[in-house]
């Protein structure tokens, strides 16, 4: 029987990453959905980068940035007493960057068009903007939220390259399931590799299946 702590760690990493992404991704996606700024394409390209970059590029830059010799890594060590590389927090930062487009893009699509129109209507009725967002825009974009949350979660479950480069393979801290599977394969411990792989496969399928099922039930924009 494989050590299941790596699965638990993976789930925690995916959950924390998704929550962080939801908090910073929602306002950013909102801004992108309505802005006419000429910087919009630049921001959009930056956000989409993790889709095309090899994880090793991201991992390499993170390794350098998180080093206590670098300004960011040094500041972190001063402030918290712990290094950012080889820590759970470091993996969260890496995963947030790595899964960024999976949160932003579905949300941005959901916020465009009809939602903006409904918001203008709400504004003409003198509804406060934040109020209108939560009572009009958010419920209308429910499908976008579900897609964004589930894809971010599932994508983080599947993270490997970045963790391999900045994780340091520490049990209960950075040895996530994908790393443990890799190590099991390399040490020819196929029984454990099979068990963990099968669990990840099933969990990932069920997660994605639920999204598609949900999306079938809900139109792209819920009309209120």
């Amino acid at each position: 029987m494989p050590d299941l702590s790596s699965l638990w760690l993976t789930a925690r990493l995916a959950l924390v990453t998704t929550l962080v992404l939801l908090v910073i991704g929602t306002p950013l996606a909102w801004w992108l959905a309505q802005t006419r700024s000429r910087f919009k394409p630049v921001i959009e390209a930056l956000i989409a980068l993790p889709l095309v970059l090899p994880p090793t590029v991201l991992g390499f830059y993170l390794l350098i940035a998180m080093s206590p010799n670098a300004p960011f890594g040094g500041f972190w060590l001063q402030a918290t007493g712990d290094t950012l590389s080889f820590s759970f927090t470091g993996l969260v930062i890496g995963s947030v960057i790595y899964s960024f487009p999976f949160m932003i893009q579905p949300l941005q699509t959901a916020f465009e068009g009809p939602v903006q129109q409904a918001m203008r209507t709400a504004a003409s009725l003198r509804a406060p903007r934040l109020d209108a967002f939560f009572s009009v825009a958010a419920p209308m974009s429910i499908r976008g939220f579900v897609t964004a949350i589930v894809l971010s979660f599932a994508h983080t479950l599947g993270e490997f390259g970045v963790v391999l480069m900045v994780g340091g393979n520490i049990p209960d801290r950075t040895r996530v399931a994908s790393i443990e599977i890799y190590e099991n394969v390399e040490t020819l411990n196929y029984a454990d590799a099979h068990a963990l792989s099968l669990i990840l496969l099933i969990v990932s399928f069920i997660t994605l299946f639920c999204v598609f099922l949900f999306n079938r039930r809900f139109p792209a924009h819920v009309r209120l």
Partner: protein, 221 residues
């Protein structure tokens, strides 16, 4: 001709390659990894001709599995383990050292030797929360050279490649702190009749090759 080489020996192999190619008409290509990883790949039919391991156990197992030519196996070097980043092993227990990089002991003989040395120094408990594992000794080295780990157990060859001033502080465990790192080479079965691979195995035992190996910080058998 493809040589699967344990990460610690990559630097030495680069020099050997230049010399070997100057002496013969053969071309050499290197595949780098931990000894354990390369071993696993070979058991699954990886197209390598020569295996330069960092231990004896895995070449022996390949011979037993009939994947390597028994009479070809020989010890080409004895590796030297170095603690890099400090000249005093007691520093490992201090709060100045946040992270200690070693190669994964399951996969890499240098990692295994590092674990033995830590245990013989009675530092296992003090260092346990600080250990970070590189996939091989090359990654352990990278963790230290990028400053993410303050110290790490690496190979002498890596330190030599840096040059004395660049390398800074280091400390060498005495021979009784870990098993000798006897590094064996073996000719893989698929290359049993391959002239280039046989020539390289022969070359490894010649004086010029032994000189290069010694210059890279290895002891010779």
């Amino acid at each position: 001709m493809t040589v699967a080489v344990a990460a610690n020996f990559k630097i030495a192999l680069d020099s050997l390659e230049t010399d070997f190619e100057a002496r013969t008409d053969y071309k050499l290509e290197a595949v780098v990894g931990s000894t354990g990883k390369l071993y696993a790949q070979i058991t699954y039919g990886a197209p390598y001709d020569v295996f330069l391991a960092a231990d004896q156990a895995r070449p022996i197992r390949l011979v037993e599995k009939d994947l390597a030519a028994a009479q070809s196996r020989f010890t080409y070097a004895f590796g030297r383990l170095v603690l890099w980043g400090t000249d005093d092993p007691a520093a490992l227990a201090t709060s100045d050292v946040k992270r200690i990089a070693i190669a994964n002991p399951e996969l890499a003989p240098y990692g295994k030797a590092a674990k033995q040395a830590i245990s013989e120094l009675n530092l296992t408990e003090a260092t346990a929360p600080k250990l970070v594992l590189g996939e091989n000794v090359g990654q352990a080295f990278a963790f230290v050279s990028t400053g993410n780990a303050q110290v790490g157990f690496v190979s002498e060859a890596q330190i030599i490649s840096l040059g004395e001033t660049e390398a800074g502080l280091s400390w060498r465990p005495s021979a009784d702190l870990h098993d000798p790192i006897a590094q064996d080479a073996v000719l893989l079965k698929r290359a049993a009749n391959k002239a280039a691979a046989i020539a390289f195995m022969d070359y490894l035992g010649t004086e010029p090759a032994r000189d290069i190996i010694a210059q890279n910080g290895y002891a010779l058998p």
